[in-house]
């Protein structure tokens, strides 16, 4: 097999075009990529146990807390069981926090500030107190809030511990993210993505100095990212600060094969471009193949041992690299061959 491309290579591009539309559908329409709580804000508790955890039991154990937008998912593996418990912030606590931050910014306006603190106290404890100054009022209300939160968390924790007979030093992870922090993080993600993309484009143009090949590399990169996103949509992996590195990694990995292919087709003189594309494919599939093999082993281990971050990153990379095989050898290679043919 010295030449798998022959003269019909242009038709190859049809397949990725169809796949691209399917991916767009998966990402934007159904099931769609979810945003993680570090972007939307909310609470997440991850528990691990040696005994089985059933989602319905978790719902039952937590019913008394009236957690808004509660979502529970469980996992069982040969090594143990786990539960993911996600909910949004208690509206009461949110309201109290808003009142207190207002009270704090109005400290100089004694009457109003005391009124706000008292309002918060009323929400928390059902009664107001007499305060001689705004600082003391705020202090009192803040103390009440922190007691309330502590009580809430301890109760939540202890009802989970009791329900699932967890040991004292059980393994857990807890996250509480405010919506505004999430928004600011998201803004940061957008910014670094845009700048990263611009820098990357510059590097590629500087390396190849030709429009079509450079554009082909960049299209392949975009294709790969959508493949990663489609994988996230399918596996219900949210877009978050932990999955962001995976998408960036994808960019790094995907360009490796594209650069190798472009450099061989454009800069070398031996054989026909089709033959050069075919040998490149052998090298490229080895590159992607080794990475995929390593990723599969990581996916399996991290899934069973519930190492959330590594599982998510390797799953996204897996989908992205499958996408890379398609985009590099079915789009990028034909584009370059076409480009070489036109140059003659």
């Amino acid at each position: 097999m010295n030449d798998v491309y022959g003269q019909n290579y242009k038709k190859y591009m049809l397949i990725p075009a169809i796949i691209f539309f399917i991916m767009l559908f998966l990402v934007f329409v159904f099931p769609g990529v979810q945003l993680g709580i570090d972007i939307t804000g909310g609470n997440l508790i991850i528990l691990r146990s040696e005994k089985e955890i059933v989602a319905d039991d978790v719902y039952a154990a937590l019913s008394e807390f009236n957690l808004p937008e509660l979502r529970v998912s469980t996992i069982s593996s040969p090594t143990g069981y786990g539960a993911w418990i996600q909910y949004s912030k208690d509206p009461l606590i949110l309201e109290v926090e808003t009142l207190l931050s207002q009270a704090e910014s109005l400290l100089d306006n004694e009457e109003e500030s005391i009124a706000l603190s008292n309002q918060a106290l009323f929400l928390l404890e059902g009664n107001e107190r007499d305060f001689e100054n705004s600082r003391l009022a705020l202090l009192g209300a803040q103390e009440a809030l922190s007691k309330e939160k502590e009580k809430f968390y301890l109760l939540l924790q202890s009802s989970l511990i009791n329900k699932f007979e967890l040991e004292d030093n059980f393994e857990f992870q807890q996250r509480e993210i405010s919506p505004t922090l999430g928004a600011a993080s998201f803004q940061g993600i957008i910014q670094i993505s845009i700048i990263g993309f611009i820098l990357l484009t510059i590097v590629i143009f500087l390396a190849f100095r030709q429009l079509v090949p450079s554009a082909a590399i960049i299209q392949s990169m975009i294709f790969d990212i959508f493949a990663g996103l489609a994988g996230m949509a399918l596996l219900d992996i949210p877009l978050s600060l932990t999955t962001m590195p995976a998408l960036l990694l994808l960019v790094g990995y995907s360009v490796d094969t594209d650069i190798m292919l472009s450099s061989r087709i454009l800069k070398e003189k031996t054989g026909t471009p089709q033959e050069r594309a075919t040998t490149s494919m052998k090298t490229g599939l080895t590159m992607t193949g080794t990475t995929l093999a390593a990723l599969v082993s990581m996916i399996v281990i991290s899934y069973f041992y519930q190492v959330e971050i590594i599982y998510q990153i390797s799953a996204i990379l897996f989908f992205g690299l499958i996408g890379d095989i398609i985009s590099t050898w079915l789009i990028n290679a034909p584009i370059l061959l076409w480009f070489m043919e036109d140059k003659k």
Binding site: E97, L136, R175, V251, S263, M287
Partner: protein, 548 residues
């Protein structure tokens, strides 16, 4: 062994030795917070701990956010003993890393950040006024600031007390100066009582070893400018002013006395000095006290445990020396604290510290929300072993794939060796810059390794497969491989660079800092050190194969 004469190989070996040195040298027993017997610090994911992300009410200036970060780190850890990291991010966020995972303890720390501190000013063992009685520090006043006085810089800090505090101040400072001698001009020179300032005094009984107490006595007597302890400070006076029960431990503890104190004060908490941990900790806990052990370091232990912050001398102008009875005394509602320093910067620092203290350590811009993330220590432990297993398995899998592809296991060896060298040098870098190793950094390592392996396959293929048919020179083949490698390394760097650039600007992005740094450094190490060496090795192997 001609290979060892090649300078590219020599460079690789030198870097390996240096890295191994950085990782392992100078490590005694395994340290807490470090990976095994190495100098590699472990991050939150592996050690367990809590990350707090504080959002302020509004954006503030760079100076202000640094100031707020300072106040926060002062308030959550006045003694500087815990290994907490407080970092401002952009103009509105502050990230705090704690080793704490206990919910109640974290809640306490959170409320310390949000709440006003409890400021107290005392004299002769009595409270004069507390923080909530300070109506305001007159920051905008013309009397506020640093003024040049001849060779010195004098700072002045005016503040206003409420009515009750003014009354208490007048009463408790009345005639607290005594004339001790006279100037040549006949003016009396006074010796005045001192007021002491405390912030966030603990509600606890304090037990300190006699040895430590006597050490501290000496320390306080000598004074410490950095800690605002004037010379000739008497430790007994500090204890008296704190109004806290302090027990000096000699040979044994009198439990009857302890329970009397407990009944009088209602305190169930005890703070003991570290050197008493082995002697009395268990007994106290058996008696149902909740005991905290406070470490001993270079600072005066007693001063720290009492949360003493400042000692300010009264001046005769304010103690109403000129009138006979308290009824005639003048009431000052605005008080001034002043001090002198040799340099403007020192004076500003003193003024600022004291102003923050009087404002009860409250933040100049209120906190809007605090987000947090906790990973339990036991989970971190599990992560750590898993990551190591995963790394090893991934390596083995890669080895198998490569051996299968080239049908020659000898080719897998250099790829293996070079891959391992890359990991060692990256770890050396991590240990060198004391960057904590967390899951994100681990992902960065995957990135670097991935492109590394990719590049090695490119080099191998470029040299191997073509050599059979094509009469291209070896040099030319290597050159073309080099172009591919360098371009791909730079694309990785281009993507990671913005993360490093904005890690201190946007919240959340700071979590990716370790990831981006490791990936970028890994790419550079690959291009500059390991891949050139790899090329040399592969060339030797190919030359040998071609000869046969």
């Amino acid at each position: 062994m001609t290979l060892l004469k090649n300078w590219k190989i020599i460079i690789l070996i030198i870097f390996l030795i240096i890295s191994l040195g950085i990782i392992f040298v100078d490590v005694g027993n395994p340290q807490k917070g470090y990976l095994g017997n190495t100098n590699i610090r472990l991050g939150l994911d592996f050690e367990g701990g809590t990350l707090l992300q504080v959002e302020l009410q509004r954006e503030v200036s760079v100076e202000e956010i640094n100031r707020i970060a300072n106040i926060i780190s002062q308030r959550i850890d006045p003694t500087g003993l815990r290994d907490n990291l407080v970092t401002p991010i952009g103009n509105q966020f502050i990230v705090i890393q704690l080793s704490e995972t206990d919910i109640s303890e974290i809640e306490r720390i959170e409320s310390r950040i949000r709440q006003q501190g409890q400021f107290e000013s005392t004299i002769n063992g009595e409270t004069i006024f507390t923080g909530d009685q300070i109506l305001r520090v007159l920051r905008g006043d013309t009397g506020y600031g640093v003024f040049q006085q001849g060779m010195f810089y004098e700072w002045r800090l005016p503040f206003v007390l409420n009515e009750r505090a003014v009354e208490s101040f007048t009463e408790k400072t009345f005639h607290q100066c005594t004339p001790v001698s006279f100037t040549p001009g006949g003016q009396p020179i006074y010796d005045c009582a001192k007021t002491m300032f405390f912030l966030d005094k603990p509600n606890a009984i304090i037990i300190v070893s006699e040895e430590q107490y006597e050490n501290d006595r000496e320390y306080l007597f000598l004074g410490d400018r950095q800690l605002n302890i004037p010379q000739q400070t008497n430790i007994d006076e500090v204890v008296e002013n704190s109004q806290l029960p302090v027990i000096i431990f000699r040979d044994e503890l009198d439990y009857n006395y302890l329970s009397t104190i407990k009944n009088e004060t209602g305190f169930n908490n005890i703070i003991i000095s570290q050197d008493l941990e082995n002697k009395i900790l268990q007994d106290l806990e058996a008696q149902n006290f909740s005991v905290e052990v406070l470490k001993i370091n270079q600072r005066p232990w007693v001063w720290d445990v009492l949360s003493a912050k400042q000692i300010i001398s009264l001046t005769e102008g304010i103690t109403n020396q000129n009138v006979a009875t308290i009824e005639q005394a003048r009431r000052y509602s605005t008080l001034y604290i002043t001090g002198q320093r040799d340099s403007f910067e020192e004076a500003i620092r003193d003024l600022e510290e004291l102003a923050i203290l009087l404002e009860s350590g409250s933040l100049p811009t209120p906190v809007k929300t605090i987000s947090r993330e906790t990973i339990s220590a036991s989970l971190g432990e599990t992560f750590k072993s898993l990551v190591i297993i995963m790394g090893i398995i991934a390596f083995i899998v890669i080895g198998i794939v490569i051996s299968a592809r080239y049908r020659n296991w000898k080719l897998a060896i250099p790829i293996f060796v070079i891959g391992a060298s890359e990991v060692i040098i990256i770890f050396g870098f991590i240990a060198l810059v004391r960057m904590p190793l967390d899951l994100a950094a681990f992902a960065g390592l995957i990135a670097a390794m991935g492109t590394g392996i990719d590049s090695q396959i490119v080099i191998t293929d470029e040299i191997m497969s073509k050599s059979k048919k094509v009469k291209e020179s070896l040099m030319k083949r290597i050159k073309s491989a080099l172009f591919i490698i360098i371009t791909s390394a730079f694309t990785l760097i281009a993507v990671m660079f913005p993360i490093i650039m904005f890690a201190r600007t946007f919240p959340g992005i700071d979590k990716l800092y370790g990831f981006a740094t490791v990936a970028m450094v890994g790419a550079l190490i690959g291009v500059l050190i390991t891949r050139p060496a790899f090329t040399v090795i592969i060339r030797k192997i190919v030359e040998k194969i071609e000869k046969n």
